[in-house]
């Protein structure tokens, strides 16, 4: 079957089941409810004053009685410093457990060491919002027997509610925890900030292990994760590389091209009609998109505009804007740098939120629905504004869906910033390899070579032109780019579908074919 974006979707896939084709960003939501049944969270019981403490992670895992075919989940709040996923999978593999479904909120290059377990049958399926590095290459080449699923941050919560992801065991890293499993990422030697993606795992997993390098006296405050969901608590020497977990602030790029794109994007935002008193704002942490914040900060000061909230992945740059009084609050589902943790701990207007409140489409209003302006990146964008943020120019998985489609669908103004080509690879083009976010959610594209407004937004185009900003037809820009780079040969793939890209409502927006080696 074909979905509304003309992508060919199989009716059914072994290892996933029946697929539903994407029919538009709001085709399912406008009903006002979700038709799929939700599964109940498990009910558990503990005797008073019994101990949850286990000496080692291996002991804790043994107590959960691991079995073949189980689903194990992790969060990715340790960013590039994560070593827990590897440690845990290694223990399971040494116990001889096979056919594991790995349900991580995201996988990064820090997880490259688990590649051997993709090859030996320990892990046979992956659910994640992003996959990168060696893992992303291997799965695109078809290393896993079952198709992987890429979901958005909001979509992951929906998948847990509906039982598409049935978590048997959640192993959750914390930078501080007490003996009952109250846990946080806001303080401790490996402080990493918000634990937003882990909340749903703690509520729905059949068994939950909290792993920390820092046991604190009861009670651990703040309770990002609460004890009533936690089966076991483990103190380990290390949850990963603290210099990568708790190190540094995110710096604004110095690359002239990114800065130029950001400057143009800020002009577009300034004249869009959305930059007004009380507006809400989200930017990605990538090069040009974070740099937009720098110019918006300047404009807000010049025009004495005060915003309502910053949402999302939060950087120390966002914290600076909160501290300057430019925004009233921050809702933090994920902290992009460790400098954020102290603000999360100390400032009552810097609020930790779970992924469901952040972006799950099926509730009475997630926060992305209340966004005014979001600035997002792209690996590729086509002339219908459909965006790829998951597969790279060689067809390998090397990115993340993350909150891209969630925020794009919610915001009044969705700005995509990217160069028109990178190296010799065209970014603005007729057809993207994989669609993650539908063009209907994108309002304007800003590149160094032109600004393109989605034809569905004539008022926006009028606003910009009235301010003297030149607007270019996206098809003209794509042709111009092809004239410079030459026409790239398409990526060679086989018929085999190795993965699917789920839209936030659970329908399939695209599939990923096996890359020919």
């Amino acid at each position: 079957m074909k979905n509304i974006l003309q992508r060919e979707i199989p009716e059914e896939l072994e290892g996933i089941g029946k697929l539903e084709a994407f029919e538009g960003a709001f085709s399912k939501l406008k009903k006002g409810w979700m038709e799929e049944k939700t599964v109940p969270p498990p009910n558990k019981a503990k005797m008073p004053h019994s101990s949850k403490i286990c000496d080692t992670l291996r002991d804790a895992i043994l107590k959960t009685k691991p079995r073949n075919g189980m689903t194990v989940s992790f969060h990715h709040h340790l960013r590039g410093g994560d070593n827990l996923v590897y440690e845990a999978i290694k223990i399971l593999a040494d116990l001889g457990i096979k056919d594991i479904t790995l349900a991580a909120s995201s996988l990064t290059t820090a997880h490259d060491p688990i590649l051997p377990y993709f090859k030996d049958g320990t892990i046979t399926q992956v659910y994640a919002s992003g996959i990168r590095g060696e893992l992303g290459k291997a799965i695109a080449e078809g290393v896993l027997p079952k198709p992987f699923v890429i979901h958005s941050h909001g979509g992951r919560v929906r998948s847990v509610h509906t039982g598409k992801i049935k978590i048997d065991l959640a192993i959750l890293a914390a930078s501080a925890a007490d003996e009952e499993g109250n846990a946080t990422g806001a303080h401790g030697p490996s402080a990493f900030g918000s634990m937003g993606y882990a909340a749903i795992d703690s509520w729905y997993a059949k068994q939950v292990i909290v792993v920390t390098d820092n046991i604190v006296d009861y009670p651990c405050v703040p309770q990002s994760i609460t004890q009533n969901y936690i089966d076991y608590v483990v103190k380990v020497d290390s949850i990963g590389d603290p210099s990568k977990i708790a190190g540094g602030t995110t710096r604004i790029t110095k690359a002239p091209m990114d800065l130029q794109i950001a400057r143009l994007a800020a002009q577009v935002i300034e004249h869009s009609g959305e930059l007004k008193e009380g507006f809400s704002f989200q930017v990605g942490a990538g090069g040009a998109s974070l740099a937009v914040a720098k110019y918006i900060r300047k404009i807000m000061k010049q025009r004495s505009i005060k915003g309502s909230f910053i949402l999302g992945g939060v950087t120390s740059y966002g914290v600076d804007m909160l501290n300057e009084g430019l925004f009233r609050s921050i809702f933090d589902v994920q902290s992009f740098d460790a400098a954020v943790s102290s603000s999360l701990l100390d400032n009552q207007y810097h609020i930790e939120i779970p992924a469901g409140l952040y972006a799950n489409p099926f509730n009475c209003g997630c926060m992305t629905n209340k966004l005014d302006i979001v600035v997002l990146g792209a690996l590729e964008i086509d002339t219908n504004f459909n965006v790829n943020v998951i597969t790279g120019s060689e067809g390998y998985v090397r990115g993340a869906s993350g909150g891209h489609s969630d925020t794009a669908s919610g915001a009044n103004l969705t700005v995509v910033v990217c160069p028109s080509f990178r190296g010799r690879i065209p970014i603005v083009k007729k057809k993207v390899h994989t669609i993650v976010t539908p063009g209907e959610s994108i309002d304007v594209l800003v590149t160094e070579r032109g600004i393109c407004v989605n034809p569905q937004k004539p008022e926006l185009k009028a606003h910009l032109e009235a301010a003297g900003i030149k607007v270019k037809d996206i098809a003209v820009l794509a042709e111009e780019v092809e004239g410079i780079t030459g026409k790239a040969k398409p990526i060679e793939t086989t018929e085999r579908v190795v993965g699917i890209v789920e839209y936030r409502d659970g329908t399939v927006i695209d599939v990923i074919h096996q890359v020919k080696e």
Binding site: S393, E394, R422, G423, R424, I425, I484, T485, G486, A488, K489, I491, E492
Partner: protein, 96 residues
Amino acid sequence: MELKTKAQAGSFESSDVLILVEPVEKGAGRIIELKSIVMQQFGDDLLRQIHANLDDFNIDDVRLIINDKGALPPTVSARLETALKRAAQLQSGTLK
């Protein structure tokens, strides 16, 4: 153009190309070792362009070692021209 010595031009930086030229015996033909980070997308285009440039300079016998990091076509031609001129000791206007 007559090639007299080994020469090179370009760099191994992103969006650039490093080209080494080596004279070979007459009749040896064009020996081209091409590596590119965009081989899959533009490998054929690159080869076609390099042959066209060699045609322009009437060079039939040469060894080229090309390491491309995604250079645009004008960059490739400019680097190749410079490397060839250096090899032919016609490098006036170019650095040694």
